[in-house]
């Protein structure tokens, strides 16, 4: 693959948390890439390692955790080899993140406008007055009503949606090439969620940025993303474009996940669920981590970890069902 096409390449990323209870293998070799100008969705249940992937990319994995191996290439530069000073320069200017909870992600002690202006002051060393003005313009772009007044407000004086707009403005201040959105709409109601989704889509186009969108909501994926990676217990089990994910899911987990979406037209009485729960990652299941919950588990599944294979152009699946040797059912999961 040409690097011109890919903005971010994550290869074999392993992040582990060294806790008192043992080593938590949160990420077990994650591979994906975000192309220029696309929105890449990362979906999965809670605890599957989506947020850890985000913090690993930013180099902000919290203390007992550490990136063990792998490469994270942003514009062909390996972020894991960089000094902390160089990383500080990249964070905020080349890539930025929108957090889950806008309420606690804003410092309650400072005015909104100043907080948005800060990256201008520190990354682009603009003067304060100029930076504040630019911050106001940025807030206007995110559709914050009455932005000039709102810049002088403190975070608690804004509503949840306004705060999330502020967070988005903060992330966009230095026009990053990569925007990482970690479930930015979880705490918002659906109407505001809709607005925020549209906003991010618009801004992505305006700033010609790429977006890594982390979510557990398949509906958001369907609306927003170009390509999707499905995560399960620290692995990407399936990676494809959004169309074929919904039309032609391959991995048993993806299939079950899609069946578990409530539908307004479905006549099924009860919602389907995936039996069992996400494994504890201190002692993860051997082989394929999904095999204890999988309907199609074979002997090999508990022994050998499946490698991602491209079964159709651009459609990668990590499952033994699709190996030449293991194709017993003829791959008929669906």
């Amino acid at each position: 693959m040409e690097s011109k096409e890919n903005l971010l390449v994550v290869e074999g990323l392993k992040t582990q948390f060294f806790t008192y209870g043992g080593v938590v293998e949160a990420l077990d070799g994650v591979d994906f890439e975000v192309r220029r100008g696309e929105t890449f969705g990362l979906v999965g249940e809670s605890g599957c390692g989506k947020s850890v992937t985000a913090t690993s990319i930013l180099g902000l994995v919290a203390k007992p955790g550490r990136v063990i191996e792998g490469r994270i290439l942003l514009n062909d530069e390996d972020l894991l080899q960089m000094s902390s000073k160089a990383m500080n320069r990249i964070r905020g200017s080349k890539m930025a993140m929108i957090f889950q909870d806008p309420t606690s992600s804003l410092n309650p002690l400072f005015r909104v406008g100043y907080q948005v202006a800060e990256p201008y002051i520190y990354h682009q060393s603009r003067r304060k007055r100029r930076a504040l003005h630019d911050a106001m313009r940025m807030l206007e772009k995110t559709g914050l009503p009455d932005a000039e007044e709102k810049t002088k407000n403190y975070p608690h004086e804004l509503s949840g949606g306004m705060r999330q707009r502020t967070m988005i403005a903060m992330a966009l201040t230095c026009e990053p090439e990569l925007l990482i959105a970690d479930e930015p709409t979880t705490n918002l109601d659906v109407t505001i969620e809709r607005q925020i989704l549209d906003l991010v889509a618009d801004l992505k186009r305006d700033f010609s940025a790429s977006v890594l969108w982390i979510t557990h909501d398949m509906a958001i994926v369907a609306q927003l993303c170009d390509r999707v990676g499905v995560m399960y217990a620290g692995n990407i089990v399936e990676k494809t474009d959004v169309r074929s994910l919904f039309r032609n899911p391959k991995h048993p987990y993806t299939v079950r996940l899609l069946r578990a979406i409530p539908s307004s037209v479905s006549t099924a009485e009860e919602l389907e669920e995936i039996p069992g729960s996400v494994p504890r990652l201190i002692h993860p299941p051997t082989g394929c981590r999904f095999h204890p919950r999988c309907d199609h588990a074979m002997e090999i599944c508990s022994q050998i970890k499946p490698v991602a294979r491209e079964i159709e152009p651009g459609h990668l699946v990590a499952c033994h069902l699709y190996n030449e040797g293991g194709e017993t059912d003829g791959g008929g999961v669906v």
């Binding site: 905020g92 957090f99 400072f110 800060e118």
Partner: protein
């Protein structure tokens, strides 16, 4: 002309609009303070103490250091309200002149100790790991000794003078602030707004000065006010023990010490400066309590309701 005038008016309105919420906040703070009787008393004591410290030397009816041996041990009377000491010096004049030394001692000790403590505590809390471990073990060593005993040994080593006593007290005083700020820093470090700031490329120093220190401001302010009283007592105690102010400097602790052998025959020599110390400590403590209450968001919210109600009723009357 009219155009520039218009701009001027709008600018003035803008400034007023910006200042209004701030004024409201200050108004509320003042209201909370005013409505706690004890805080008012504390404020009055502290203000009069500061006033005396500034103008004391000029207010003193007698020269605080000139001796009139014939008038020694005069009991309190019209001409000497607090009596005279063993050298015939007017106790009241000496107390008025001595206030400045006490307030100077308090201010200088805190001006040295607080920045050191805040900085070290902030560094310990922010960086964590071995830095935290090292700095906190050092503070533990300081906190392990009774502070006055430690201060005594430092000032004994430095030689007895009020200045050395201040240095000694500063050395003893910073660990408490280091502890206070470290605790706060540990809490703030984990907040998601610090994580968010890091994700935008904020450096450690930026997080320290923009996130951690502003969050420590109100506990520091409260502790500072209360400590002012305690530092003054500690300085007086050192002087009392002979480590601090040397004669003939009119320092309150020294005055108590000088009078203590005449306690039974001439009580006023020790009692008045002693009362002065008690009163000042009390004043700073009450003020500190008041500030803490005024800064407590829960209490503020409660009082804010009362306040606005009162404002509405008074404006409807007017």
């Amino acid at each position: 002309m009219t155009r520039s005038n218009g701009i001027f008016v709008s600018r003035a309105r803008l400034i007023r609009k910006r200042l209004n919420p701030l004024l409201k906040e200050w108004g509320l703070t003042a209201y909370v303070l005013r409505h706690s009787m004890l805080a008012v008393i504390g404020t009055l004591i502290v203000f009069s103490f500061v006033f005396i410290a500034i103008f004391g030397t000029r207010l003193a009816p007698y020269n605080p250091t000139s001796t009139t041996i014939q008038e020694r041990f005069q009991p309190p009377s019209g001409s000497h309200p607090f009596g005279t000491d063993k050298m015939g010096r007017d106790v009241m004049s000496r107390m008025l002149a001595g206030a400045q030394h006490s307030i100077k001692a308090g201010a200088i000790v805190l001006a040295i100790a607080v920045p050191i403590g805040v900085l070290l505590g902030g560094i310990a809390g922010l960086f964590g790991g071995w830095v935290d471990e090292l700095l906190m073990r050092i503070t533990d060593v300081f906190l392990a000794f009774p502070s006055l005993v430690l201060a005594m040994s430092f000032s004994a080593a430095l030689g007895p003078s009020l200045f050395n006593a201040m240095i000694a007290l500063s050395i003893v005083w910073w660990p408490m602030y280091a502890r206070l700020v470290r605790g706060q820093a540990l809490a703030v470090r984990e907040t998601s707004y610090v994580e968010a700031a890091r994700s935008r490329g904020a450096s450690n120093w930026h997080i320290m000065f923009r996130h951690i220190l502003p969050n420590c401001l109100s506990p520091i302010l409260v502790t500072l006010t209360m400590d002012m009283g305690w530092v003054i007592t500690a300085a007086a105690a050192l002087s009392f023990l002979g480590f601090g102010a040397q004669p003939p400097m009119p320092e309150w602790g020294r005055m108590v010490s000088d009078g203590r052998i005449y306690m039974l025959s001439a009580w006023w020599v020790s009692v008045f400066p002693g009362l002065g110390i008690v009163l000042v400590v009390l004043g700073f403590n009450l003020l500190g309590d008041g500030i803490r209450d005024a800064l407590d968001p829960k209490l503020r919210r409660l009082t804010e309701v009362k306040w606005s109600r009162k404002k509405i009723s008074s404006s409807s009357k007017g």
